[in-house]
């Protein structure tokens, strides 16, 4: 505990960087997954290759991705940009399927009614389908958020600035306190992301609150 | 015989779903529980096989207190059919039907034969045996549900809105088929529905319940229609009860007029009437035509098929309906084989109704009830 209080500033700094490395890719990943998921839904034959193909990205070990990506992007190995790209890839891997299934969870009658009222496909997507898919997408986003926070800490192996540095610090010095603080900080960050996603979901789905249904 | 004796069910949240219910469901008969949504029908039914435990009172089965039996054993002796059939999606139709016999350890061969025979009885041939529930229509699933409940040949059946999830035409079919089956099987049945028409059609006796779990009236269907005890029952039984009551009155000897007919394919030119009845080679009525509008022979497309056909031995309701629905206002009456016997006009049916005695059915619970 004293160790934690003594290193509060450091925890805060690394925590902020960790939050950016894990959080920004969530937004980027979602932005990329939305059109991909829509395509997988719109053209049925794309569903299997898309969900399977992007899902495969998730099996690339983060350890390797963090090291190899700099070679591809041409940036320095410690450049956060690489981590952002890697985490975005993982997010996309998780979310393409989620978005496709979320859009698929919208009842056909609703989409048909919207079409019958004269919505163009584009307007219908933003006005009807996307809002109704929010609960499912949000569930996937929560998984991705928690997973991102954990994976970012693997960046420790190459020395990226984030909470995982406490792990290697403690490990090298055979000293529990930094590791425990790092783990707790990661969990708190993950729960924080989770809470934010939940709140946003609630704001976006007032109709679920009205009937007391769960998101 | 199933006997409810002062049965009350109060849910933990304080809702009294069934209030001091005393009721007998006689052996070999269908007792229907009917009433508005939330009046405690399902709760009453599920207390019989102890899916729900009564808060007080006893339910006995052939004199034995069900509360003293082991729940799972009690249930194996009671067939249970529910609204959406509740088939096991992972099992084939045949396996579904075989569930209870297997549970009670009946032999393999015996089980199989019985299951196949039951499927046949509910109108699903061997083709369906190997299908999965997801490959059946709603009506077919419901049939399997009935077969499954019958599989171990339980003397008692509980049916909770078994036919309500299918369209009216299929529902009607299922009801008819089930009544025919029941004629052979003679099970002791409690049947729940919120549809008064279904209650009247299916029930040997009908228990009308009102919200709060009160038994409002218990009577045979005809008596119920003729003598609702209070405004609630009268209201629930509905507007057309006078008309519907005719369902239970056999047609007396009606003054049948013989009808001039032509056979399909003949010419109608020399008929001097607004309407003429067309029959097939066996004298079975097919429909009416207007001779003035037809030159040449009468084809199937020209037939007016609006009129219903009543059996001479059937209820008055059908005869009146035949007369009212016929374009010529002459109701077509046939014998049991479907061959034409004659026609009857609406006023003749009404006269017959007026002359017939107002039906007085002994109220089983209340023999002294006024015969209106």
């Amino acid at each position: 505990m004293t160790w934690f209080i003594d290193h509060l500033g450091e925890v805060w700094d690394l925590g902020r960087q960790h939050a950016v490395l894990a959080g920004l890719p969530l937004l980027l990943g979602l932005l990329i997954a939305l059109p991909l998921g829509w395509l997988a839904r719109r053209f049925r034959w794309l569903y299997a290759p898309f969900t399977a193909g992007f899902g495969l990205l998730y099996t690339i070990p983060s350890l390797a991705l963090f090291v190899i990506l700099p070679l591809v992007t041409g940036r320095g190995i410690l450049d956060p940009f690489n981590v952002i790209v890697a985490m975005t890839l993982y997010t996309v891997a998780l979310l393409v399927r989620t978005v496709a299934d979320g859009l698929g969870s919208v009842p056909g009658a609703v989409t048909n009614a919207a079409t019958a009222m004269g919505y163009t496909p584009g307007k219908r997507f933003f006005a009807v389908e996307l809002p109704l898919a929010v609960p499912v997408i949000s569930a996937g986003l929560r998984v991705a958020a928690v997973s991102n926070v954990s994976i970012v800490s693997v960046g420790t192996v190459i020395g990226v600035q984030q909470l995982g540095l406490f792990f290697s610090d403690g490990f090298n010095r055979q000293f529990y306190d930094p590791i425990v603080v790092g783990i707790v900080a990661c969990i708190v960050l993950a729960l924080l992301f989770d809470a934010v996603i939940l709140v946003v979901t609630r704001l976006l789905t007032p109709w679920l609150r009205a009937t007391g249904a769960r998101a | 015989m199933i006997v409810f004796d002062g049965v009350t069910k109060k849910y933990p949240d304080g809702t009294v779903a069934v209030h001091d219910l005393t009721l007998e469901a006689p052996t070999g008969k269908i007792t229907v529980l009917v009433g508005p949504s939330g009046c405690g029908k399902t709760t009453s039914l599920r207390m019989v096989n102890r899916m729900i435990e009564p808060s007080s009172g006893t339910i006995s089965l052939d004199g034995k207190d069900t509360g003293r039996m082991k729940a799972s054993e009690l249930r194996r002796g009671i067939g249970y059919v529910i609204q959406h059939a509740g088939l096991f999606p992972n099992r084939t139709v045949l396996d579904n039907v075989e569930t209870v016999p297997r549970l009670v350890g009946m032999g393999k061969k015996e089980t199989r034969d019985r299951a196949m025979q039951l499927l046949e009885q509910v109108g699903l041939g061997a083709d369906y045996a190997k299908r999965y529930p997801s490959q059946l229509s709603g009506g077919q699933q419901q049939r399997v549900g009935v077969a499954r409940a019958l599989a171990a040949d339980p003397p008692v059946m509980l049916m909770d809105e078994p036919f309500s999830a299918v369209d009216p035409v299929v529902r009607d079919q299922l009801q008819d088929e089930f009544l025919r089956l029941q004629d052979d099987l003679g099970k002791t049945i409690i049947f729940v529905t919120h549809d008064i028409d279904e209650a009247i059609k299916m029930g040997d006796q009908v228990a009308v319940m009102r919200v709060g779990g009160y038994l409002a009236q218990l009577a045979e269907p005809a008596y119920l229609l003729a003598h609702p005890v209070d405004d609630f029952v009268a209201d629930f039984v509905g507007r057309d009860r006078g008309y519907r009551g005719l369902s239970f009155q056999a047609a007396p000897r009606l003054p049948l007029a013989s009808e001039r007919t032509i056979t399909l394919g003949e010419s109608a030119r020399d008929v001097d009437d607004d309407w003429v009845l067309v029959v097939d080679g066996d004298n079975h009525p097919l429909g009416w035509v207007e001779p003035r509008r037809i030159d040449g022979e009468v084809t199937s497309e020209r037939l007016h098929r609006g009129g219903t056909v009543a059996r001479a031995s059937g209820p008055l309701r059908a005869v009146l309906d035949a007369a009212l629905s016929s374009p010529s206002r002459r109701g077509v009456v046939v014998d049991d084989s479907g061959a034409l016997v004659g026609t009857v006009r609406p006023h003749e049916v009404l006269t017959a109704i007026e002359e017939a005695e107002r039906p007085v059915v002994e109220n089983p619970d209340n023999p002294g009830a006024p015969a209106a």
Partner: protein, 272 residues
Amino acid sequence: MIASTWQWLTDPVNWSGPGSIPNQILTHLWYSAIALFVASLIAIPAGLAIGHTGRGRFFGVNLAAAARAIPSLGLLFLMVLWLFPKFSGSSGSAAFVVPSLIVLAVLAIPPILAGAYAGVEGVDPAARDAAKGMGMTGMQVLRRVEIPNAMPLIFSGFRSATLQVIATATLAAVVGADGLGRFLIDGQKIRDYPQMAGGSLVVAILALVVDLLLGTIQRYAVSPGLTGRRTSASRRGRSDGVSGSAESAGRSNTPLDVEISDPRRTVDSQPS
């Protein structure tokens, strides 16, 4: 880069001997299998119990969520520090392997647990009601109705867990254990990028192959009534709509985690 990776992958030197690709694959699989086995032993009974009784749902779900949030690397370091002295007497590698296995099992528990309880919870309430009503005991309902019908989601959860475990088992190498992670760590140390890329490729392929294998097993283990030519979606259409399973399947449409390959394998992922 691609060429040199290919060269590394096809170099015969890497295909024989103690630290060779086949050996590391076997070790990797072995670690993953033990971790998944232990995780299943805990998570499946717990998930079934939660789904069957409806009790402990809040507790179980939140515990699983918390377990997901534990950073694997941190837990790994912590476990090694803590367990290392306890293993100092025994033969070398156990001190690294056991912590790795614990970390992998912790990683695998949440998706397996979620699959099991969501699967049981999603069983058509009418089917469950009918099973009870015909006199099945609680255990019989579970064994004959709930588990068979939960199979698609149980598999789905297990497969997600498998993918994550296989990808994460590479971390074991960070603390000195074997497995395919060796190529990544050793490669990084000597800046042998082809070795790293090759190693990652092997991991990804391994994950894919195992997933396909599980998919095949699933096809035989899951009743055709649940996966057959008709899905819950079309059944909904046919039975006038209100079947409980269809409803709850729609609502439990939460992706359990990562999913690759055959889209038909989750009951709730069918395009409708």
